[in-house]
Every structure is written in C-alpha cells, then in structure tokens.
C-alpha cells in the first residue's frame, strides 16, 4: 500500500511510470500516496525579500487611490506629496537633526535598559538571594505602567534628555528582564545533571550551559524591548520636547500639515524596521546551531 521511492539516475533501468517528477524533486513517487505532497507540515521555502510583499501592496493601493482622486489629500496626501515634503525636510536639515536626536534617545535608552535588565536578571535568575531581593521589586514595578511614572521622573530628572532616556530605558528593562529571567530558570534539568557528572566548575557551568541555554530567550526579550523603546520614544517626544521626530510630528499636527506627519511616521517606521533587522541578524549570528521551524 505504501509508495515506492526510487532514486533517479542511480538505476537508469528503473521503471518510471506515474507523474513526472518536479525538477527539484529528488525522488520519483509511484503508488497510491504519490500525489501527497512531501513536506505537508513544513513551511514552503522562503523567497528572499518575500516579507516586502504586504508593504508593497499597501503602497500600490495608496498610489492608485491618490492618482484616481479617491483619497482626500487633507486626510492622506498623495505619496508624491509626502516624498516632496520628505525631500524638502531632508534638504533644509530639519529631518536629519530631528532624526539624529530621536535615534540617539532610542539608542541610549535601549543600551541602558538592556544592560540593567541583563544584570538584574542574572542576579535574580542565578541566585536565590537575588531572586528574593530583586524579583519582587521588578514585579511591583511591572504592575505600574511606565507612562504613569512620567510625572515622578519629571520631578526628579527635569524635562530634559535624562528623563526621556530614563523612560525609554525603563520600558526596555522590563521585557529584557522578564525574558532572560524566564530563560535562565527554564534551563533543562538534564543539562544541569550533565554539568554535575562532568564536574564543571561554576564558571564553566555559566559559560557552557546557562548562558547559551538562555540566549534565545534573551534575544526574544531584545525584540520585545525594541518595540517597547519605540512606544516610549513616541510618548516622550510628544511631551515637552523641542526636538526629535515626535516633536516634528506634533508641531505639524498643530499646523495641520498632514504630509509632514506622514513623513515623520515613515522615519519612525524606518528606524523601527532597521532595529528589528539588526536584532534578527544578531540572532542569526549568535544562534548558528539553531534550525527552527521558521527555517
């Protein structure tokens, strides 16, 4: 009842009735199950750049809508208007200075928040004392939304850059801490047994078992942290800011310049996507041994 698998070319004399093999297929299938596709549960092969299909379709819809006058320009200006505005903002230097301010804010907040998250997660993940001292505090902090802390942080740090970076850093800290702590505690017991029978010392245990075992969890935390940093960036740039993409957007809002708003959002998207791509590349570089379902 089962299908017969033959290697082509290996036996030139082998009979080959049935459906012609697909060019990339390595085996010829004959029999009642021949029509069943081979990799039913695996995803299809990835196409390079395939991820861009959705955005490209959206852009196409926008172009067509604007060209056919289906979209009121006061609601959503045409893509070419936005491009023009973008070019104008870029050539008079406004875009660049605001972009730099925003990128530095986000970068500093990410860096501080990640370092703090890693340190605290290691302390509380690897020792009971650390857990009792720190984990409860973090859980309490997690129950208070970061944005609710803004008034307090303004009182403590003023309305300048330190307050803004602090808010981004706190937003970043939480996902890094949560994911890394969870990953550290989730190291499989069988690897801990292995460490015991191999008589590893504590440093070797950290180097070979704990840290690589928790790395995937940390990288997931980093992706969530990037997203959190973005939300925080947008919020802090719309309160008491005098520079940054968010400031540019809220100013444009006051004057009803929809095209500037859209240009600002495009910059946010570019920043966000760049960070996401960087984290993915980092994950690929750090987890070369991992072959997941996603391929």
């Amino acid at each position: 009842m089962s299908s017969v698998l033959l290697k082509p070319a290996a036996h030139p004399a082998a009979p080959s009735p049935g459906p012609a093999p697909a060019p990339e297929s390595k085996t010829i299938r004959i029999g009642p199950r021949a029509h069943i596709p081979r990799r039913r549960f695996a995803l299809a092969k990835p196409v390079p750049g395939g991820i861009l299909l959705g955005p490209a379709l959206l852009l196409l819809g926008w172009v067509i809508g604007a060209w056919a006058n289906w979209i009121d320009p006061r609601v959503l200006p045409a893509p070419w208007t936005v491009a023009q505005t973008f070019w104008q903002l870029a050539s008079d230097g406004r875009l660049e200075s605001n972009f730099t301010t925003s990128a530095v804010r986000a970068g500093e907040g990410l860096a501080f928040g990640t370092v703090a998250g890693v340190v605290v997660a290691l302390l509380s993940g690897l020792t009971r004392t650390g857990e009792y001292l720190l984990d409860g505090l973090v859980q309490v902090k997690r129950a208070v939304p970061v944005l609710a802390l803004i008034p307090l942080l303004v009182m403590w740090l003023g309305i300048g850059e330190p307050m803004k970076v602090a808010i981004i850093a706190i937003s970043v800290f939480i996902p890094i801490y949560m994911q890394l702590h969870f990953a550290l505690r989730g190291i499989e017991a069988r690897y801990i047994e292995l460490a015991c029978v191999l008589r590893l010392n504590y440093l070797q245990f950290l180097r070979w078992i704990v840290l690589p075992g928790a790395l995937a969890g940390f990288l997931l935390g980093l992706r969530l942290a990037v997203a959190a940093a973005w939300i925080a960036l947008v919020v802090v740039e719309q309160i008491n800011a005098t520079s940054g993409i968010g400031y540019m957007i809220s100013l444009a809002g006051t004057y009803g310049q929809t095209d500037v708003i859209i240009a600002g959002l495009v910059v946010y998207a570019i920043l966000g996507l760049t960070a996401e791509v960087l984290v993915r590349l980092l994950a690929k570089a750090l987890l070369p041994w991992q072959r997941t379902f996603a391929g």
């Binding site: 047994e193 292995l194 460490a195 070797q204 070979w208 078992i209 041994w289 072959r291």
Partner: protein
C-alpha cells in the same frame, strides 16, 4: 582485588513507594557488568544514585564510587549549542584536552566531524560522541543507561564492537543498563537482574553456554516459556 564500586543497603523511593530496597553490589576494577530488569524496576534510579544526581529522591544507604566516573545517558545529551569537539572536551582540564578529544573522536570513528553541530549528526553518531565524551575522561567507572536503545540492529552491533574495543583499551569498570538480553550476554562479564528493588540474579557469563544463559535470563525477566524457547 578491592572493588571500585561498593553499594550497601541502598534504599530509594518516590513518595513513600520503595523502588530500591536494601540493594548490595560490588564491582571489581575493569569488570563489565550488565544490569537487566523490567521496565520500571528501578534501573535508572539505581544509576542516578551511583552518579549522585538523584538529589530529589529520598533514601539511605552507602555508595562508594571512584572519583573518575563517567555517564552515558539514554539520550546522547549533547549540548546543541556547542560543537562536537567542545562537547567531548567539556570540563576537561589540561592543555592537551583538545588533542585528547580529537583522539577520542577518531576512536569512535568520527574524525573530521569536530566542528559539526550535534543537530547535524545522526542518532547513532550522537551516541558515539557521548561515548567519546565519557571515555576521554579515562574513567574508572562507566555508567551507561540504555545507550543503544534507539539504534537499529546493525548500528547496535557496530556499537557493541566499538564499545568492546574501547573498553579493552581503556579498562574501565562498566555498568550497562539494557533491556536487551542478547546485548547483555554479548558484552558483559557478569549479568545482574534487578527485581523488587534488589539484585535478584547475579550470573557470571564466562563458562556459561549462551543459549542456557539466555533462557535463564528471559525466565527471570518473566518471559513466558514459549517466548523463552524461541530461536
């Protein structure tokens, strides 16, 4: 000769249910011992007690094992994020550790795969890496919990030959847990049967006819008469 393993009055149990009950055992240096027993009879529990990784289990008794102890687990238990050679020399001290690791890999016929990831190896190859990781430590006692359980018959026979060769070269005492009576007879100097938490039979294989031994062991393991009589 002074035994390398000495177990006296070993008791282990889970939640009040006794698994090992007043178990006694000596193993001489270089002796190859196979441990048979029904599923759930406590073989793994016993091995984990010897390897001192049964911290969560309650029990009492005396266990003396040598400092040089290596374990081959039923799953190869390689670190997926470490390359094959790094897995073999993990925790090994000394400047020549990597050279010794290479030699051990060559001994299990995996020379050239030093930089592969464990996930790129077949199940049998992973088991051989685990064997190399154990033997590179030059153990006085090798504990192996059904190391060949998941292999096909032919690979299994190859692994038997390999294990016999390596044990002849390195001379460790071996305690091999297995479900397979033929494997026990083929490899061991001595076969134990674990039953009701004790060593119910302790048979020296040399000088015993294999067919008779096989019959006896199958009987002890509770196989019916017809089953024991086949082949």
């Amino acid at each position: 000769m002074k035994p390398v393993v000495c177990v006296r009055g070993l008791e282990r149990g889970y939640e009040g249910k006794a698994v090992l009950d007043n178990l006694n055992l000596d193993i001489a240096p270089g002796e190859f011992v196979a441990l048979l027993g029904r599923s759930g009879s406590g073989k793994s529990t016993f091995l984990r007690a010897l390897a001192d990784i049964d911290t969560e289990v309650s029990g009492s008794g005396m266990v003396v094992v040598p400092e040089g102890l290596a374990v081959v687990f039923q799953d190869a238990r390689l670190l997926p994020w470490a390359r094959v050679l790094d897995n073999v020399v993990l925790g090994l001290a000394g400047g020549d550790a990597r050279a010794r690791g290479r030699t051990a890999l060559a001994e299990v016929e995996l020379a050239g795969r030093e930089r592969a990831w464990p996930g790129e190896l077949s199940g049998g190859e992973q088991q051989r890496v685990a064997l190399a990781r154990a033997l590179v430590r030059k153990p006085q006692l090798l504990l192996a919990d059904e190391p060949f359980g998941a292999l096909d018959a032919l690979t299994r026979l190859k692994m038997h030959a390999l294990l016999r060769r390596l044990c002849a070269a390195h001379q460790p005492a071996v305690l091999l847990v297995t479900h397979d009576v033929d494997e026990a007879i083929a490899l061991a100097d001595r076969v134990l049967v674990l039953e009701q938490g004790r060593i119910a039979a302790d048979i020296v294989t040399r000088g015993t006819a294999a067919a008779a031994l096989r019959h006896t062991l199958l009987g002890l393991l509770g196989a019916t008469q017809e089953l024991a009589g086949t082949s």
